[in-house]
Each structure stands twice: as C-alpha cells, then as structure tokens.
Symmetry: T
Subunit: 148 residues, 12 copies
Amino acid sequence: MTKVIVIHGPNLNLLGLREPDVYGTRTLAEINEMIRLHAEKLGLEVTIVQSNHEGELIETIQQADERAEVIIINPAGYTHTSVALRDAIAAVRLPTIEVHLSNIFSREQFRHESVTAGVCRGQISGFGADSYILALYAAKRIAEEESS
Amino acid sequence: MTKVIVIHGPNLNLLGLREPDVYGTRTLAEINEMIRLHAEKLGLEVTIVQSNHEGELIETIQQADERAEVIIINPAGYTHTSVALRDAIAAVRLPTIEVHLSNIFSREQFRHESVTAGVCRGQISGFGADSYILALYAAKRIAEEESS
Amino acid sequence: MTKVIVIHGPNLNLLGLREPDVYGTRTLAEINEMIRLHAEKLGLEVTIVQSNHEGELIETIQQADERAEVIIINPAGYTHTSVALRDAIAAVRLPTIEVHLSNIFSREQFRHESVTAGVCRGQISGFGADSYILALYAAKRIAEEESS
Amino acid sequence: MTKVIVIHGPNLNLLGLREPDVYGTRTLAEINEMIRLHAEKLGLEVTIVQSNHEGELIETIQQADERAEVIIINPAGYTHTSVALRDAIAAVRLPTIEVHLSNIFSREQFRHESVTAGVCRGQISGFGADSYILALYAAKRIAEEESS
Amino acid sequence: MTKVIVIHGPNLNLLGLREPDVYGTRTLAEINEMIRLHAEKLGLEVTIVQSNHEGELIETIQQADERAEVIIINPAGYTHTSVALRDAIAAVRLPTIEVHLSNIFSREQFRHESVTAGVCRGQISGFGADSYILALYAAKRIAEEESS
Amino acid sequence: MTKVIVIHGPNLNLLGLREPDVYGTRTLAEINEMIRLHAEKLGLEVTIVQSNHEGELIETIQQADERAEVIIINPAGYTHTSVALRDAIAAVRLPTIEVHLSNIFSREQFRHESVTAGVCRGQISGFGADSYILALYAAKRIAEEESS
Amino acid sequence: MTKVIVIHGPNLNLLGLREPDVYGTRTLAEINEMIRLHAEKLGLEVTIVQSNHEGELIETIQQADERAEVIIINPAGYTHTSVALRDAIAAVRLPTIEVHLSNIFSREQFRHESVTAGVCRGQISGFGADSYILALYAAKRIAEEESS
Amino acid sequence: MTKVIVIHGPNLNLLGLREPDVYGTRTLAEINEMIRLHAEKLGLEVTIVQSNHEGELIETIQQADERAEVIIINPAGYTHTSVALRDAIAAVRLPTIEVHLSNIFSREQFRHESVTAGVCRGQISGFGADSYILALYAAKRIAEEESS
Amino acid sequence: MTKVIVIHGPNLNLLGLREPDVYGTRTLAEINEMIRLHAEKLGLEVTIVQSNHEGELIETIQQADERAEVIIINPAGYTHTSVALRDAIAAVRLPTIEVHLSNIFSREQFRHESVTAGVCRGQISGFGADSYILALYAAKRIAEEESS
Amino acid sequence: MTKVIVIHGPNLNLLGLREPDVYGTRTLAEINEMIRLHAEKLGLEVTIVQSNHEGELIETIQQADERAEVIIINPAGYTHTSVALRDAIAAVRLPTIEVHLSNIFSREQFRHESVTAGVCRGQISGFGADSYILALYAAKRIAEEESS
Amino acid sequence: MTKVIVIHGPNLNLLGLREPDVYGTRTLAEINEMIRLHAEKLGLEVTIVQSNHEGELIETIQQADERAEVIIINPAGYTHTSVALRDAIAAVRLPTIEVHLSNIFSREQFRHESVTAGVCRGQISGFGADSYILALYAAKRIAEEESS
Amino acid sequence: MTKVIVIHGPNLNLLGLREPDVYGTRTLAEINEMIRLHAEKLGLEVTIVQSNHEGELIETIQQADERAEVIIINPAGYTHTSVALRDAIAAVRLPTIEVHLSNIFSREQFRHESVTAGVCRGQISGFGADSYILALYAAKRIAEEESS
C-alpha cells in the first residue's frame, strides 16, 4: 500500500476563514477529510501535516522517507522565496508534487515564479481543494510506475 | 454527459519520437488512446485535436463551446509567447486547463513564465502523459461543480 | 478614388461576443458595416479582411499594394510579439495605421509595448470601434497628402 | 454644443521652427487655426492652451471641466515622466485624448512608454498636425456617446 | 549524394523587392537559382521551401528527415520569438544551420538574441545571399563528417 | 513654540473632489482646518502651503527655515520622479517628514519607490488625512528632541 | 477599550545593544515601557510580542483577532522577503500598521521595497522608537473610525 | 563678440549654503562674479539666469538664440529626469554645454545617466565652480570654430 | 584560548546522505568530528550547532558572544534570501566567516549573490568539508590579530 | 590575389588540448595548416596571427590594411566584453568576418551577445574548425564583390 | 611648475584616420602638438603617452606620480569595461581627469556608463580635441588649489 | 612535493601603498615573503607571479601545468569582467583557487559577481593577506586528495 505525506505550508490552517474569493470556503479540516476519503478510495495511506514554520516544513520533508513514498506539498508563501525548502526537496529524493489552491499565474507577478517547483516532479495549481485530489491520483500513478 | 476537448499544440504530433528523455516514449496515438479510455471511465465525451498552427489552435478554442464544456490544452511552445492564444482562451470563457508533459520549472528560464496560464482555471505540468489524465479528472470535477 | 485595406487580426472575429467590458458589444459584422458606411462617405474604396493566422496576415500585408494605397491594421495579440508582422509592414512600404479597440496603456504591462507600431505611420488606440473610423479619416488625409 | 479644450505641452510653441523632419513645418499658430476650422465644421466649441510649465498644465486640466466636456492633450516631453500630470487627468474625470505629432514607437526607447496614456480614453500618435484633427473627431464621437 | 533542404521563413518571398539597402537586390527566385547552381557544383541534392506560416515551417522541419540529411533555415522574423520552431528543430535531430542575410548584431537590440540558434549546429549571418552558399558548404562538410 | 510648515504637492487642492475611494471625501480646506486644530492642541505654530508647481515647491522648501523648524511634505506625484525636490530637501537640512494619504505600497508598482523619502527623516503613508496629524505628532517629538 | 497588539520582528530584542547609530540607544524593554505608557494615556489596551521566528510571527498575526482590533508590526528583516507574512496579514483582515525604526528609503536599495506593506493599512518609518508611538495614535484613530 | 548664456538649474541658488562637502563653499553670487570675470577675459558677453522652475528653464532655452550663440547649462536635478528640457535643447539648435559641479559618476547610481546630455555638444562635470570656467573656454572655442 | 562557534544552516544535517556529487559523502557527524580535531590542533575551543530554523539560527548568532569570539557559519539556503540573518550578524558584531561546501559561483545564478556575506569578515566556498577547516585557520588568525 | 588575415584571439593557442568536447581535437597548428591549404585552393594569400593580448589584437587589426583586404577574426573570450576591439574593427574599415568554433547561442547566456559582431560584415559560428574555412569562402566572395 | 601626464587609450593612435565624422580629422600627432603648445602657454610640463594595452595603461597610471601631479586620461574603449583601470586610478591617488573626444551620451547606450569616471575628479566629453585643452585648464586649476 | 603557483593580478604590485583601509598595509614583497614561509612549512614548492596584463595572466595560467599542480589566483579587477581569463582557467584543468584580499560582497554591487570563480574549485575572500595563506592550506588538501 503506497504511503503519501501531504504537507500544508504557512497560513493554510486558516483555509475557509481566509479570503474565500481566492481560496474557497472549505476549512482545512474539511479538506483533510476529503483528502483522507479519496486516499482511501485510491488505496493510499496518507499522513497530513501543517506548519507555518519553514524549519518544521524542512524537517518534515527531510524525514518524509520514513513515512511516505511520495510527497504532496503546498508550500504557500514559501513557494516564491525559500531556497532552503528547495534544497530539502532536492535532498530527500522522494518524488514530490507541488500543489496550489489558486492559479499562481493569475495572481501578482511575484507569484508566477516558483523556487521550489524546479526540483519537484510536477506542479498542479488552480483547482481549489481539488488540486490535492489530483495530486493523490498523480501520486498513485507515480508509485505504480516506480514499482513496475 | 460532460464534453471535453483536448487540444495538443505544436510538435506534440512528434511525441514518442522526440527527445524521449524529456517527453517520454509514448506516441501521440497511444496517449490519445489512453485519454479516450480514461474519458470513457470518467463518463466524459472527448474530442481530440492537434495542430502546429497558432491560427488553427486559436480557431479551435474559439469554436470549442460548440463541442465542449471544458478545454484541456497543451500549448507547448506557444505557452511562453502567444498573447493571441491567451486572448482566445479569455474570449471563449470555457473553463480551461493548461497541461504540460514536462515540468516547465525544471527547464530553461524562458519556459518558467506562461503567457496563457493566467487566463486558465489551472495548470498541471510535469507528469508526462498522466498530465492529461489528471486534467480529465479536473475537468470532471469542474463540470460537476458548474452544473451543481 | 483612394483604396484602403482594413486588416483585422486574431480573435477579432469574436467581437461583440467577447469580453464586452473590454471590447464593446458590437459584432465584427456590425463594425465592418460601419467601416463601409464611413468609407463611402469619405470617398474611400475599402477592402476588409480578418484572419487569426499570422502567416495569412503577413501575406495580406505583402499583397496589399495590389489592392490598396493605405493599410489599416489591428494586429491584436500579435501586436506585442510578432517581428514577422513588423517585417512585412516594413517591406510593403505602404503607409500603415495601427489600430486598437482598447487603450493598450490601460491594460497589462506586456500590452504597453508594440512591436509593430514602430514601422507604422501612426497608431490609434482606445476608442472602441471608432478607432477604425478615425483611421479612415487618417487614411484619407495621408492619401491626399501623398498625392499632392 | 460640445466644448473641447486642446492643451499643448512643453516646446510645442516652437512647432514649425523646430526639427521639421520630426515634427513638420507648420507653426503652432497655423495648427491652432486648422484646429479651430475643423472644430467649427464639427460643431465643437474649442479652447486652446499652450504651456511649458508642468504646474500650469496640471491646473489647466484641473479646471478643464469648467470649460470643456472633453480634453485633448499633447503632453510632449512630460508624457514619459509626469506622474503628477497623470494624477491630474485621473482626478478631473473628463474623457481625455492623448495626442502626439510623431509616432512615439518610431523614436527612442524611452518614448515608447507613456505615463499619462493609461488614464486617458485613448491615444493618437504619428499623424503630424492631423493627430489633433483626428482627436477632434474622436471628441465629437465621445461627446455624442456620453450624451446618448 | 547528400540531400539538403533549404527553408526560407516569413517575408523572404519579397526579397529583392524589399528594403534593398538591408537585404540586397536579388529576388528569391534568383537566390534559389544560385543555391541550386552551387548545390549542384557541391554534389548536393537540394529542396527549397518558403513559407510565411509558422505552422508550415514547423511541419516542414518535422518532415525534413524524409527528404534531407541537413537543414538550412532562415527563420527571419521568427528567429527572435518562436519557441515552437526551436522545439521542432530540437525534435527532428537533423543537423541544422541557421542563416541570415543581414548581420543580426548590426540591427535593433531585439534581433541580437536568437531563440532558435541554440538548438542548431551553427549560425551564418550577414553575407547577403552568400549566407546560403556558405551554408551549403557547411552542410557538405557536416554530411561528410557524419558519414565518416 | 515650535514652527511647522505643511507643504501639499500637486493635485492635493482637488482633495475630496478627486477619487474619493482612494483619497477620502474631505476637502483640502477641511483637512487644513483639522491640521490647524491639532497643531494648536500640540502647541505647534503651523503654516500651510499648496502648489502644483515643482519650482514653487522647491522654493517653499528652500525658504522653509525662515518660517519653520520642521517640514511636513506630501510630494504627491513628484514623490516618484523629482530629483530636484530631493535635492531641495537635502539642501535645506530641516528635519522633513514625508506624508501620503494612500498607502503607496498598495498601488501601482511605480509608486512603491520614493525619490524624496531617502533624504527625509521618516515617512508616514496610508492613513488618509490622519497621515498629516501623525506627522504633527512626529514633528513635535523631533522638535523636543532637537532642543533637548 | 480598544485592544492593540504590537509585534516586534527578528533582531528587535537586541535594540539598544545593536548598531545604535542606525537604531538608537533605547533597549526593547525601555521601548515597550514607553509603548505601554502611551497606550495607557490613549486609552488603549496593549499586548506586546517579540519573535525572531517567521512561523511564530505568522501565528501571532493569525491569532491576533482574539486579543486585538488593530495590529502594529515591525517585520524588520522579514519586511523585504516574506510572502508568507504578507499572506498572514492579508488573511487576518485586522487593520495593520507597519512600523520601522529607521527610514527604509535611506538604507540599502533592497530595503526600499516592502513585501508586507501592500496589505497593511499604512506604514510609518524613520522616527526611531517614536514610530511605535505614532502607530498607537494611528491605531486609536482607526479604531474610532471603524466603530463610528 | 560672442554671446553666451549661462543657465543655472534648480537649487543652485543655494550654492555655498548647501552641502559644502559636495558642492563647495562659494555662493552663487560669488560664482557668477567669477564667471563674469572670466567671460570678460575671454572676450565673451555673458548673460546669467537661475531658475528652479522646469518651465522657465525650458523658455530660457527656447529664447536663448535671441541673446546668445552658445548655451552653458547646469540642469542640476532635472538632468536625470527631464525629457522636456532635452526637447528644448534639441529644438533651439544652439551648441549647448552641460555642466555639473560634482562628478555625477561618483554619486548615486540614478545620477550616472543624463537625459539631457545626449543632445548637448559636450559635458563637463566634477570641477566645482571651475566647471563653468571650463565651459566658457569651450564656448569660446566652439564660437570660433562655428564662425571660421 | 580562543572560542569559536560553528553554525550549520538548513539541510546540513543531511550531509553525506544528500546529493553526494554536489556536497561530498561525509556525514555531518564525521565533519563535526573533523572540525573538533582540527580545532584542538589549532588550540581553539569549538561549539557546534545545527538548525533548520531561521529563527533559531538568528538567536544562536545573537547569543554567540556569550560563548565565542569568532563565528563560522554556513547559512546554506538562507544565504541567498535572509535579510533577517544578515541583520543578526551585523548586530552581534563578532567577526563572522561565511562558509560553503560547494562553489556558489558554479551553481544556479540565484546562488551567486549572498545576502549575508556583505556583513561578514570573509567567505570561503567550494572546498567541501575542508571549507570549515580553512575557516578555523582564518578564525585563529583573526583572533590573534584582534588580541594583538 | 586577395590577401586575408586570420586573427586568433585568447586561448586559441590551446586548441586541441583544451575542452575537446566543446572545441574539437585539432590543434591550432593543424587548423592553421588546413586554413593555408584551403586559402591556396581559393587563390587567397593568407597571414595568420594568434595572441592572448587584447592590445596586440587591437594593433594587429589596426595594421591589417597593410597586409590584407579582409579580416577573419575569432575574438574568443574578448567577443563578449571588448569595446576596444570593437572600436579597432570599426576604425580599420576592412570588411571583417567574426568566427567562432562553438555555437555561441548553445552556451552560457553571457556568450549570446557579441560586442564586436555589430561592426563586422557577418558572423559564422558553430562549425568547429570549418568555421574558418567558411570564412575563407566568404572572404573570397566579399573581395570579388568589392573589386567588381 | 606643475607636471601633467596625458594618457591616450586604445585606438587613439588612429585619430584623424578613423571615423572622422565621430572623432574629427586631426591626427594624434597634431593633437599632441596642440596639447604641448597649450601646456606651455599654461606653464604646465606635459608628458604624453599612448597605448592600446590595458596593462600598459595601468602601469602608466601606477607610475604617474613619479612624473606628474595630475593625470589626464582618455580611456577610450576601456572606459566602459575596465575595473582594473578604475582600481589603478583609485590606487595612485593623483587627481585624474577623464576626457572623451565624442559625447558619450550621444552614442550607443553601452557608452553612457563609465566604469572609470567614478574615481576621477571630473570628466570632460564631447569637445573633440578641445576636450584635452579644457582638461589642461582644469589640471592647472586643480594644481593651484592643491598647492594653496 | 606539491608545486603551487600564486598569480597576482592587476594593481596588486601596489599593495601596502594603495588604499590601506581596503587592502591592508603590507606590501606585495612582504606578502610574498609570508606566502613563501607558509608554503615551506606546509611542504609546498611555490612560484609567485604578478602581472597587470590580462594577456600575460592568461599565458601564465596556460603554462601553469608545467610548473604547478594547483593554481592560486587573485584576478583583482579582471575578476568581474574577463571571460578570456575564465576560458584560460577552464582550459588548463588544474584545480584553481580564487583569492581576494577584501570581501567582494562588502563592496560595490559590480564586484559581487565573479566571472572567473565559476570555473575554479573554490573562492576565499575577505581575509586580507591571510586569504593567500588559507589558499595554501586548501591547495595542500586538494593535492593530497588528488594523489590519494
């Protein structure tokens, strides 16, 4: 059974409460519930973590290989600035999927560039909470492919 | 039954023959077969078009609302340069999903910016042929949401 | 009797249907009708062409001297990117008037620069369909001046 | 009867004397005469002002609504630098038409960007003194449209 | 006998008629005659194509390996903008020689960068019609080298 | 009793009439009244000047030391462009406080940089008319500090 | 009674010890004492927090609405880099005042741009410890205005 | 007898009082005295003007040919920003010498570029008040040369 | 006996496990052992700290003067982004040596600039684990020099 | 008999020994032999010079008209930086052909721009040692053309 | 008697022969004669050196204090690129005057910035050979001032 | 016994005489003595060269493998501009250590980028003359490692 870790970055604990016109109305708890449901359907074992701390996110990534074969990460505000997060992803060598709720290309110019995406397998952005569900499908495919 | 149009941009007719280290070994015919299979499973009616001509792509987008409710497009090389394509997507007002086989952030700096993505619903890049499959799932969710 | 060719670029066939808050509610057929009416009043013989294809636009420009003494062109999305279109205008050596429905300086930064305008006689932008009418007046004045 | 104010910016008092290869041989007095003639024909009441002083231009714009319904302005050298002029145009909320004798896109790179055009209705450039005449036509159309 | 395809990009059909101070006075027909003559002398079998359409140029490149071992291409205005053309050249994997009539470094700044040259074998620019002749010599040498 | 001069830059004479969503609904006269009231409360003697002329603003600053110990200035549109104003502030050597009604960082990118602020003591922006009141407090503190 | 939270960012715990020519000689304890004194005078209830951790600052902002109606924040070094902090301020939707001890426009070029200020109500910089006092006045005015 | 006009730009009326470490200790009156003395020695008839107003400087330049054959101008802060001043110099067609007291290349980066110098005969900067004296010599040489 | 603190930044706890082609095969424990050995030889008392948390690194630097006379720091990913770290180093005023395992100039363009190095005494990069040993030698020299 | 000078720039004396994957395996002596052979075939009299010294290269160019009618130069590393070399080529006014062994557009971004090419007749790059042979052909054609 | 060294940079040995429309028709020998004549008149002892070699120019500057109290240098093409020359001027600490024959601001954009001028006393450009004569006057004034 | 060559670039012959606040008070002779002493202690055979000539530095590097196994180079002013020097270092393939006396990141922005460092093993900057001693240690370690 493929294990996946879902890592939510800074401010995502506010989901549903925060700028609903940009990020939708579902809370993080509801989204996590939805993630767990879909993971189960897909036969994935899922761990979910949220942190506002760059250092904790780095360490969660570093230790991800103990509990997962694929990383799904929404680095939120750190996407555009954190070389340290990029280095962590590059180091851990697990296939990593970058996820964004909103479409980063529809927002301010400084959100168009992703520092972290270059060392990920791929990026999914703009589908609201569904971005995570799509990432679960992608994770499943990657896991099947790696194991074949 | 939701109708989806899949539009392949320039050079994608060469898939499988072209730089397999970057784009994988499956031919466009095989990928289209896979797209049709998954569409069927998901209860989607799918039309597939490929063109190397910017003008044809523009016209396919313009007329998409006659045969589809959602557009999935891989603008390939036009992604980074075509304001005209962007204008077509903005004009047709169908939810549009931008798809890339390779991860645009892992490649040359000039591929990091997408001219077209800003007017799309979202973007999926880096999962090889699976990027299309993920886009089908996304299309289904969008269609359900719009109709609800 | 002075002959003028009016060339509409990509996506202008959607006029009236497309983003009316930006481009107005008149369809291209209505605008063309209005152009013909005004041309007649001004004693101009007018040919009207629309194409979404960069190559066709280039060829229309190349052959313009067979049917016109002045070119009026709205290069739309190609305005900001097409060196090839610029080269065609420079080559044909007919006085050329660049026209835009919307004010390019009120829109995204990437629409402020025009690749093509530098080789035109002048540019008229921001007056909706009236931009074409103003261009007809300009064409008439240029023709009179050239022939004097 | 629609009232229009025509505002000539810095150095335009030198017209006809100055760089005739760039700006033509007509003096400002001759151009103003031409403007008055065409205004009369179009049924427009026209006021004409020239100043080399940014502050005076700002104040002429600020008080324009007392004597006009449409502003036609050639900000000349201030086009590319004056945020204060831009703010005045934005504040007075009269429809404003930016005019240039020469084609700003055919000249030095620093003349391609207009600080002021973004808050105007539209821009006409490159037709020599005729740029003003075209602006009068545009003013008439705008006035008709606003009053309808 | 080595087979070479010579591909002329947009506006080159106007050669001889167009800006002779920049591009010389020979027509494309004359240049093609000259190319055929030299090809014969060098023992090369030559096919010549011209198109103003980016999509057609892409397809000519894609199918070039059916009729040639070396591509000589003058992408003209597309040189500085077409990622799609670059991708076609990279995909077809035939040795490709980029040719320009004028010296791109003596012209406007935006012509100094070539989007396509980076995936070509080499570039020859500035020798007028002779640029093609030099490319034929280069093609011959490359073919000999590849076959040795 | 500490003397303060308040200098309003271009277009501020329009306050209350102009873009109330950006600058609020109070007129300059009302704001000046409010400034005088607060100055009195704080034991400050206040002179108030407004000008749309860069040259007048420069001269008001140059002569400020004859009537004030602290300058409060809202350079408005000149903030982002006027090296001459910056030089005047640097030259007069009175502690100077730059004030903005709106938050310059929430507006267009070209308003984020201030040419003048670098030679001021500090900057207060975004509090509407209250920005001036805060500047009065700041002026009082600076004056006390300087005299201690 | 209006509640205000004052958030000191990284390295501000060193105040008074650190580069006194840039930041003054008062320690953070002394400044906090001064803040409390002034808050009391103004009838404000004040909570003060300092952290060197971006994550903690984010969480303090996220939870600010439980203990305050206005945020006063000096993001220090994070001002110029932290998109995550910006997102937190945007999310919590309390009126927020950005404060700097030194004038950011008098320092290195990279300190001129503030990533966070764009989502704040306003910014006060350059008045040493008095920047906080001015922010308290501003907070009081904002609270009165909101409640009126 | 050659006639020369010396035009001092904004803030130069403060010379000697202002930042003596940058501009020296002589007042403008003393410098003008020195200029008159040297002009007399060189057999030049000199007119001296100072203004802080861009508009006045423009008009002084426009009318310079009535009272001078050579212009010596120190545009001070307007050097780096005024396209309008540049246009005036270009229009008047008198040989013009740009002068700076301080070395513009030793100061802030934004002072390295001169908008006005490109249309002047030459530039002299960095010699304090002597820059004017050197300009007088240059003016004399230019006048001799023109008249020969 | 001179006291030195060695501070390892984010992801350095992964050394030896992480991208050995870039960073070498020695683990952090082995490198620390090597550091201690060399420190002893050089008569230096060494404290070693590692953290992935920007805030902890800042605080370790802030308190460094309690346990060290020289700081050796490898800020890793924070090198290129952390103004807060730069401010901490500038504040603590201990001589600080920046160290990198890999040569930052041989890597991606965004790693060429160091935000932190400008306030350090010097920088050593590219010698693998030996970079630390060289820094110990440097620390010893600096300490001797300061105490002499 | 047409005389040609071939000038090899810095580090080309190392050819064949140096990075053979980039520059090929032939030594400079072998290449020079090849050049002489082809020159003889083409009826050209050839002089060959190599220098690592910018000053010597400048002087060789300056004196080239004493021994040649055409210059072939590979400025190597100086291509991208030497304004002085550019000035020498512009001054000597002999037709000059810039040559590169490798394709400058396939290498680092800083090699894409050529400071020197803008004053040359044309540029040939990317054909290894054959670039020189092609330049000889070009030289012959230029000489014939000039003498006709 | 004040001693001055005049240093001519690369390609200046070609003066009079080279691009007379840009640099005038006088040869370097004639200019040197003129320099000697004026130096004598001004009571200056002058040494004149020309070199095309950056290294020789550096060494001439380094040793200038043995034979001169003031340096006059025209760094020509090295002006815009040579940090090493800048360092030499900064090191020798003699007052240095940068001279250009042509007006660097009237030429290509890359000639507007001077790497060397920032460490010189001043710069004189655009007066042809007279630039040197003006520099002699300046040198005399500087020497008098230093000795007073 | 490992052989090392130490190459001093332009202006380093002035050390001790030149800007002692930036580069220290020791002369090059004293530094060389110190280098020789430490080399002896470390069992290294050292050759020392200084040149102000880019060409000589290039040739010294080219021939370094005849007399050394490691290069230590301080390219001084050429660090930031010389592609030719970079090419020489890349070509000679000896491990090379770049050294700077001052910290290049504490100086002007144009000194932050090193053109040469990218092809060196590593870089040591900011330790004054000790930078060379540290480089000797580094050289010894590299030599041991290569021979093991």
